[in-house]
Amino acid sequence: MSGFFQATIYGLLQGGLLALVAVGFSLVWGVMNVVNLSHGAFVVLGAYLGWQLHSSLGLDPFLGMILVAAVLFCLGYAVQRLLINLVVNGPIFITLLLTFGLELLLVQGMNIVFTANYQSITTSYAGNAVIVGDIQLPLGRLLAFALAVVITVALVRVMSRTRVGMSIMATGMDRGAARLMGIRARHVYAVTFGLATALAGMAGTMVGVVDTFNPAAAGRFTLLSFVIAVLGGLGNMYGALVGGMLMGLVQAWGGYFLPGTWVNALAFLLLVVVLIFRPSGLVGKAFYSARLEV
């Protein structure tokens, strides 16, 4: 049975990290009703920046992550302010096409700047495992899991305690009313997107530590974020955490009980089933869904 526990633990650790990958995507979709197809590209960009800091400055990725977050926040802020704000009121596939164009731009840009080589941020300690009974807890994944959960909880705290957080939530619920209260919607939207890309960047750096990546991996992360965001309920930060964990477990258990190739099929069928029976996600009502667009 130890194989099963090992798979479960592994799935949970993986799920925590996937949650952080997806939480930004869920935030953008929930608050601004924008489906960001370039989200995966920002995750990979975060990995490359973390790798660059590590290889040229020797900065440990888990520290470099903070710098990566800052850089990506500014990039995200600019992208929203200059590009996405121009079409944010449009029908759903307008914002989607814009972010698709952005994804092409980012992925090919990384192909040219960082070349298509497979990279990984190799640290001395990440591969070693903490052994509990006969369960192996890889240090790198454990650290990534812990940080992912801490950051997500911190995000929820920020969203519900600070002024910025409140303004984001308010704009998400009813942009018209929020603007009447003096909230500068354009700025708040840009902050939200910046926050989302910063989170994606941090998750990307940690993915860089535990995984290998190259520009083509962007699509995979966007797809994962889709599934997790819907599982957890749009714009619901805790939901993204639960959705991520669930995704990790489904992939782990699926892989354990079924032939390895069935893993992805399970994840998508789970998505469709959840959508049909609980469109608002598993974790309570996504309170953003009922709102007026002005």
């Binding site: 998508f268 998505l271 959508l275």
Partner: protein
């Protein structure tokens, strides 16, 4: 502003010219090289795909992000029938279309209850899930390793059509999609689609059976896409689930319809031709950065022409103002 033509002729003029163009296109391939014939064949393929997506995404306003599932299903049903049952392609083609339509109805009934983003993501989930299922049925579909249709020697139930042959089949499919779209847009059925697009509750209130109309449209769109997928599979000879269910194909269909002008007859055609020529031209001249430029151009097109070329031209012609500025401000925050 009514043109000087007599009403009856004004009614039929577009149809006549449409048929003339399709007929002319038939003769075109005799003038071209086999490479060019194949390139234009691919353009007709995308015209057909864009028109069939337009039925559900443009007219009815249900943005299906899993449209490639019909493309892939059509391809794999034909591949299975021709490889295992040794059917002729001409028999497998309609059957693949019908099965794709059936699948569309089957998934449509639960999914078409969802609206907006949720429908888009659900169909994306179905497409990705179906690809994984196809990958995991190796004895029927060859799984990840791909499947090869018999086109050489005795096993070939239908002789390989070659570039000219596939050019004609894709042209016929594009013409079929054009005919269906034209009929739908002018008929009672087209009104029901537009009504559902604008406001489903109001549509139901005037007696439109919205559920049946949506499922029917989704199945029809699936049928046409399935036919194109089946032809593509025969053309490629060896097919892989990764390519047949590639989400990029769906996104390309959406790009073509939105930039061309969704909910119109002409939009998807212009969008498909324009985008295919653009990406082909970029590939030829900027080999290393052509996808980068394509991304930039799509961003520009979406910002400058959010409602699509045809709708922009129509509105500009009606109120005489051709400035793009109004477009940029249209959806601005």
């Amino acid at each position: 502003m009514a043109p000087t033509l007599s009403p009856a002729w004004r009614q039929r003029w577009p149809w006549a010219a449409g048929i003339l163009a399709v007929a002319a296109a038939f003769g075109l391939q005799t003038q071209l090289y086999s490479g060019q014939v194949r390139t234009i064949g691919t353009i007709f393929m995308f015209v057909a795909l864009a028109l069939s997506w337009n039925l559900i995404g443009g007219y009815t306003g249900y943005a299906s992000f899993g449209q490639v599932v019909f493309f892939g299903l059509g391809g794999y049903v034909t591949a299975a029938l021709m490889t295992h049952a040794h059917w002729s392609f001409w028999l497998a083609l309609p059957v693949s279309g019908l099965l794709a339509a059936g699948y569309g109805a089957l998934i449509g009934i639960p999914l078409l209850r969802l609206r907006g983003h949720y429908f888009a993501v659900a169909t994306l989930g179905v497409a990705e899930g179906t690809r994984e299922i196809v990958t995991n049925l190796p004895d029927l579909t060859g799984g990840g390793g791909g499947i090869t249709l018999p086109t050489v020697g005795a096993a070939a139930s239908t002789k390989y059509l070659g570039n000219d042959g596939f050019y004609l089949v894709f042209l016929v499919l594009a013409a079929l999609c054009l005919l269906v779209t034209a009929l739908v847009s002018r008929s009672k059925f087209g009104f029901a689609l537009r009504a559902i697009h604008q406001d489903e509750d109001a549509a139901a209130a005037v007696g439109i059976n919205t559920t049946r109309t949506k499922v029917l449209t989704f199945a029809l769109s699936g049928f046409l896409t399935g036919l194109v997928g089946a032809t593509y599979a025969f053309q490629q000879v060896t097919i892989y689930p990764e390519r047949l269910f590639d989400v990029e194909l769906t996104v390309l269909m959406v790009v073509m319809v939105v930039i061309g002008g969704s909910g119109t007859v002409l939009g998807p055609i212009l969008g498909a031709i324009g985008l295919q020529f653009l990406s082909e031209w970029l590939r030829q001249n900027y080999t290393t950065i052509h996808t980068l430029l394509l991304g930039a151009i799509i961003i520009a097109a979406v910002i400058l022409l959010p409602q699509g070329l045809v709708n922009y031209l129509r509105e500009a012609r009606r109120n005489g103002d051709y400035s793009l500025l109004a477009n940029v401000r249209r959806y601005r925050l």
